[in-house]
């Protein structure tokens, strides 16, 4: 496992905000009946987090749970734990129709930090990112510029962004341009 590398090896950029490639992040795509008690229990047991509402992410001691669609969650756990969590979920849901897949390696993840993070994202995402409309725990699956992406807010000045691994470098380049010093609209 020591040979595993994230797409940009933790690249960083400091401009109007700070952008960090978040490194390896365990991610599990879980599809199933989100109302099912066994599924909810399995999710909470894996992450310590409650079930999220629509377009929300919840935070637990051992992971996070993101709502992705009416029948899909994304579980974020330690990279090293991902296969084990998939196995646990599969065991717990053995009799339920579901799909649990480790997608950790299929993604790139970035952390955007700074008061201007909202505006950097608003240059590419057709999302109301004003503090009134988007707060901690809110999540969107959307696009950033030409790329499919998802992002959520973890604290008042921090967003986490995920995209496909193959375009991780492109998104990083895009974010660096959008975060150019002195380029924020100062609208939000």
């Amino acid at each position: 496992m020591s040979e595993a590398i994230s797409v940009l090896g933790g690249a960083r950029f400091t401009g109007a905000i700070e952008i960090t490639e978040a490194g390896l992040q365990g991610m599990i795509s879980l599809r199933g009946d989100l109302a099912d008690a066994a599924l909810r229990a399995a999710v909470t047991s894996a992450t310590g987090a409650d079930m999220p509402d629509v377009r929300r992410i919840t935070f637990g001691d051992t992971g996070q749970v993101a709502w992705m669609s009416p029948d899909e969650l994304l579980l974020l756990v330690d990279y090293a734990r991902a296969d084990a969590v998939v196995a646990d979920l599969s065991a717990a849901l053995a009799n339920k129709h579901h799909m649990a897949a480790n997608v950790s390696d299929a993604r790139a993840m970035f952390r955007l930090h700074g008061t201007g993070a909202r505006e950097v994202l608003a240059k590419g995402a057709p999302v109301d990112l004003s503090p009134q409309a988007f707060g901690i725990g809110d999540l969107r699956r959307t696009r950033i510029g030409q790329l499919a992406a998802a992002f959520w807010m973890t604290d008042a000045e921090t967003f986490e962004v995920v995209c496909f691994r193959s375009v991780g470098e492109f998104l990083f380049d895009w974010l660096c341009v959008a975060a150019e010093e002195g380029s924020l609209p100062e609208f939000l």
């Binding site: 029948d71 057709p126 691994r165 341009v177």
Partner: protein, 1002 residues
């Protein structure tokens, strides 16, 4: 210098700016526009017209300017057709006039001006007609040489651009008193408001029209209002930002010019705002119309309001002796302003029979001569106004008196700026009192709630008097406040006062009975050189629709989109057709309001951000090891790896021979990988694929085909059954997203009762193919998994670890060789690649690219989606009938395949081709002909080459082709006419190499 002693609200006399025009250095004041600075320096002639190369000067003071466009900047910051009236002067600004040769003062092209009869309405289209040779050899070259405005930039743009997405309750376009009053109402009520103003300052016409608001001078009221708005957190004011367009669902575009006034500043030059607003208020004011009299395009003939603007806002006297010509009271403001500034105003010509309002009376009281019922017959002068000949408006243009002057300030009335109201379908009403189109508030553009989402506010609503305009704006704001869920604050609305005005009188031609000679010099569209005579000719030639007339005469089709010309033009058309103006109607208003930069439209998508390129986990290794890149869908893949001074062909040959003779490795990570899981997964895949998947045993792989509902093949790949209820479906590299979406669509719309989930795991894995007779030895050297033919037979797969990395190894082959495709987690892809390279070193392993892959699959007669398929090919055409189940009751495409057309024997079928000369490689796509001509006189074509290569393995060229009735033509020699020669080739079985398939099954 023509700077006035007083005035100049917007300029700072203590700060100067230096700029050049046509290479000559001039001085401006801070706050000047390029137009005001040129006028301040006495430069009246600023360009040449589009068609006739007539001398042209500055006509307006804002976004509607038709004439005064310049080439701006140089090199990477060069940009043509920049309006001087909306360009702020900065130190070092360089401008050049356009559309003349050799110089602005002496322009050869002005000969066109002597030949107007050769350039009548629609002359361009007429040149297409006859003689037939003339368009190509005479007209087109001449027109191309003489037409056009600015020059084309040659260097890549030095600046960058971006988008910004914003969401507000109420968007207000226009920062005049109406927009400001509306922002106060909405802001106080708590709505989130964005107010945008295209100029650098707020205030609009209230600054120059002598308006008082709540007893204060407008400029003071605006200052106070601005201060209050700036304290509101829910209100944003952006200047230098134009409301560019309004679109469905209350979507608006704002064009913010960040550094045009200060180049070299960091940050983007333009920002395109994409705004979702619950309500949009268009407080866009009104534009003054010119009057159509002979010579109205001479430098020095200006809009009356513009002359006033230059005096009041910039302290610039456009001239010393100004004649005002009008059909309304408003233009008297200009006369009064100029007179009070100490300039000469020898005469006001008023086309109306009488002028008795308070403004005319004030003008008379200042000692200005007012002549009613009079107009201009002709303007004297060539490059600038020298005098006007006055006449009776009701007459044919007999000159009664000639008055020397250097400026003619004209006003033909006002037209509300209805563009944004109209962009998305807001309807207009003809207002006969003011001879203008104004928004019909009962027919606004409708949103998804069935209510209007655009409200006009102020003068833009057609309320031309300040008092009514401000009331209208407040009312519109309160309606928007309520409709967005807020409660209007019950305060006393601001009250504007201004002198009352008497009715205007429409004047579409001056004088009313102007003969042809005068009409042919009376301009309607200044930028495209369209005159009253052109519109009348179009009507005479049968044009009745205003849209057709627009295109025929080109009126309103220039970069100003007819801001000054459209109403005048359609009035002339209506008159010529003897139809009421509202019946003739307007042309369509389309965004953008004024031209916006292509850079802003492109946004950040340029250079390395132009388009995303998907990169495999081993991309960096390929890049530093000689990869020649090939785009494969959105991916880039190594076409081959160059060593030393090899040619591409040599490298491909080396890679093929090394694979066939030893072992090579391929980055196959781009292959699509879709996980399909659930109790109904097998049933689902039986429907998605043409062949049977439910009979596949766990641990085994099967090649499968996917067709659309028309039976046409669109993707293929190997399916591995991971467990009873789980399959992994490989797709083509370009097809993964499409196939995943296809599966989801069927599951979500047709087979929603199936218990199946899918996930696109394409990027979860790095996939590496180890290929060649020595492949097993390499895997054994990696260690960790039994890869013997017993443990892992052909078309089987196994899971375990290889070289300590968790791996799934598939025994599948696209080359016909012993081959393993090994999937490992993408994050360990590079590590695994390195381990294979190291373990394979003793066996001579080397990487190969997509071209070697393609040649080897063609040697084996394997098809490639997109080469052998083109959306009209069914599996049976490709000899793949064996992969179309005859047992299954249904699958997508089954019904279609049973149609007679798809069962005909003479369909184009896949064959192999061997050229007579083994060294001849058929061109890709070459057509086979069978003699004779079709009804179009073309050779009868029986098919085409789909894949063609020189096979290093076999030492001769090979090709595949789709040939009509190909299956029955074995041994036939076909003829392929190619550039310069004819290639003959024999039809053969498309499997050229190892027909029994022994090499892969060892």
């Amino acid at each position: 210098m023509t700077r006035l002693a007083s005035g100049g609200l917007l300029i700072d006399l203590s700060e100067t700016r230096s700029f050049t025009f046509n290479g000559q250095r001039y001085t401006a004041q801070a706050g000047d526009t390029l137009a005001s600075a040129l006028l301040a320096n006495g430069q009246k002639l600023v360009g040449r017209s589009f068609k006739y190369h007539r001398p042209r000067g500055i006509m307006a003071s804002g976004a509607e300017e038709p004439n005064a466009l310049v080439n701006m900047g140089e090199g990477a910051r060069f940009e043509p057709n920049q309006r001087t009236t909306t360009t702020e002067v900065f130190d070092g600004l360089m401008a050049r006039s356009q559309n003349h040769w050799p110089t602005l003062d002496f322009d050869i092209g002005a000969i066109n001006n002597r030949l107007p009869r050769f350039f009548p309405a629609g002359f361009y289209y007429k040149t297409f007609m006859k003689p037939r040779w003339a368009w190509k050899h005479l007209f087109e070259p001449v027109i191309r040489q003489s037409a056009g405005l600015g020059a084309v930039p040659t260097d890549p743009d030095a600046d960058h651009y971006e988008y910004f997405y914003a969401y507000v309750d109420i968007l207000i376009v226009g920062g005049g008193m109406a927009g400001i009053a509306a922002a106060l109402e909405a802001g106080r009520a708590g709505a989130k408001v964005l107010l945008m103003e295209q100029t650098p300052h707020l205030g609009g016409r209230a600054l120059v029209d002598g308006v008082e608001i709540d007893g204060q001078a407008a400029v003071d009221w605006i200052e106070a209002a601005k201060a209050e708005l700036e304290t509101m957190e829910n209100v944003t004011i952006r200047t230098r930002m134009m409301g560019s367009g309004v679109f469905d669902h209350s979507y608006a575009m704002g064009y913010e010019r960040l550094t045009d006034h200060a180049p070299e500043t960091a940050g983007p030059r333009h920002r395109l705002w994409r705004i979702r607003a619950k309500r949009i208020l268009t407080a866009t004011g009104a534009l003054e119309r010119p009057l159509a009299f002979a010579g109205n395009d001479l430098p020095g003939v200006m809009l009356a309001s513009a002359v006033r603007d230059y005096a009041t806002l910039y302290g610039v006297a456009a001239g010393r002796r100004i004649v005002v010509v009008t059909n309304n009271d408003d233009a008297y403001r200009t006369a009064i302003t100029l007179k009070q500034a100490g300039l000469e105003v020898p005469l006001i010509l008023d086309a109306r029979p009488q002028a008795s309002g308070s403004l005319p009376e004030q003008a008379r009281a200042l000692g200005i001569r007012v002549e009613t019922g009079k107009g201009i017959a002709t303007v004297k002068g060539y490059k600038t106004v020298k005098a006007v000949g006055i006449c009776d408006q009701a007459d044919t243009g007999t000159v009664l008196e000639t008055i020397p002057c250097d400026i003619v300030a004209m006003s033909g009335g006002w037209s509300p700026v209805v563009h944004l109201w109209s962009h998305c379908g807001g309807k207009l009403d003809w207002n006969a009192d003011n001879a203008m189109f104004a928004p019909d508030p009962t027919r606004p553009p409708l949103g998804d709630d069935g209510l209007g989402f655009v409200l006009s506010a102020g003068t833009a609503s057609g309320e031309l008097h300040a008092t009514a305009a401000l009331q209208n704006a407040v009312q519109a704001a309160r309606q928007a406040v309520e409709e967005t869920g807020f409660a209007p604050v019950p305060d006393t609305p601001p009250m504007a006062t201004a002198p009352t005005e008497e009715p205007m009188q429409p004047v579409w031609s001056m004088p009313a009975k102007a003969p042809y000679k005068l009409r042919a010099k009376s301009w309607l569209d200044f930028q495209n050189d369209v005159k009253v005579s052109d519109i009348r000719l179009a009507a005479q030639e049968g044009y009745e629709s205003v849209e057709h007339t627009k295109r025929y005469t080109t009126i309103g089709m220039a970069t100003d989109q007819g801001k000054l010309s459209n109403v005048n033009g359609l009035a002339v058309l209506a008159d010529a057709l003897n139809a009421p103006i509202p019946q003739v109607g307007t042309t369509t208003f389309r965004p953008p309001y004024t031209p916006i930069s292509l850079g802003a439209i492109a946004g950040e998508a340029r250079g390395k951000l132009f388009k995303p390129t998907r990169k495999s986990p081993m991309d960096a290794w390929h890049d530093s090891n000689g990869a020649v890149w090939e785009p494969v869908a959105d991916w880039r893949r190594p076409y081959t790896y160059l060593r030393d001074d090899e040619t591409v062909q040599q490298a491909v040959t080396r890679e093929i021979l090394n694979t066939r003779g030893g072992v090579s490795m391929l980055d196959a990570s781009t292959l699509g990988k879709i996980l399909v899981k659930g109790p109904d997964a097998a049933k689902f895949l039986d429907l998605i694929y043409t062949n049977m998947m439910s009979s596949l045993k766990p641990g085994k792989c099967r090649y499968g085909l996917m067709c659309n509902e028309n039976g046409f093949l669109f993707d293929d790949g190997v399916v591995a059954r991971l467990s009873e209820d789980t399959f992994l479906c490989h797709t083509t590299s370009g097809g993964s997203d499409r196939v995943h979406a296809w599966m989801e669509e069927w599951l979500q719309t047709e087979w929603w009762d199936f218990k199946v989930y899918t996930a696109n795991l394409t990027e979860q894995y790095a996939q590496i193919a180890v290929v060649g007779p020595k492949a097993r030895k390499v895997l054994e050297a990696l260690g960790g998994m039994d890869v013997s033919s017993d443990a892992l037979p052909f078309m089987g797969f196994a899971e375990g670890t290889l070289a300590g990395i968790k791996a799934r190894a598939f025994r599948i082959s696209f080359s016909g060789e012993l081959s393993y495709e090994i999937a490992v987690p993408a994050a360990q892809g590079q590590a695994f690649w390195d381990k294979i390279a190291a373990a394979g070193a003793e066996f001579g392993i080397m990487p190969y690219g997509t071209e070697a892959l393609h040649v080897m699959r063609a040697e084996k007669g394997f098809i490639m989606i997109g080469d052998e398929t083109d959306g009209t090919v069914i599996p049976q055409d490709l000899n793949l009938g064996w992969a179309v189940s005859k047992k299954k009751t249904d699958f997508i495409g089954k019904r279609a395949m049973e149609r007679p057309f798809l069962q005909r024997d003479d369909r184009k079928q896949l064959v192999g081709l061997l050229t007579e000369n083994p060294a001849d490689v058929l061109p890709d796509g070459a057509h086979a002909v069978e003699g004779g001509k079709n009804r179009y006189g073309q050779e009868n074509m029986i098919g085409h080459v789909t894949s063609t290569y020189f096979s290093p393995t076999l030492g001769h060229s090979i090709a595949m082709a789709l040939i009509k009735g190909g299956a029955g033509r074995m041994g036939e020699v076909l003829t392929f006419p190619c550039e310069g020669k004819v290639i003959r080739a024999t039809v053969v079985d498309p499997v050229f190499y190892d027909k029994e398939g022994e090499r892969q099954n060892v």
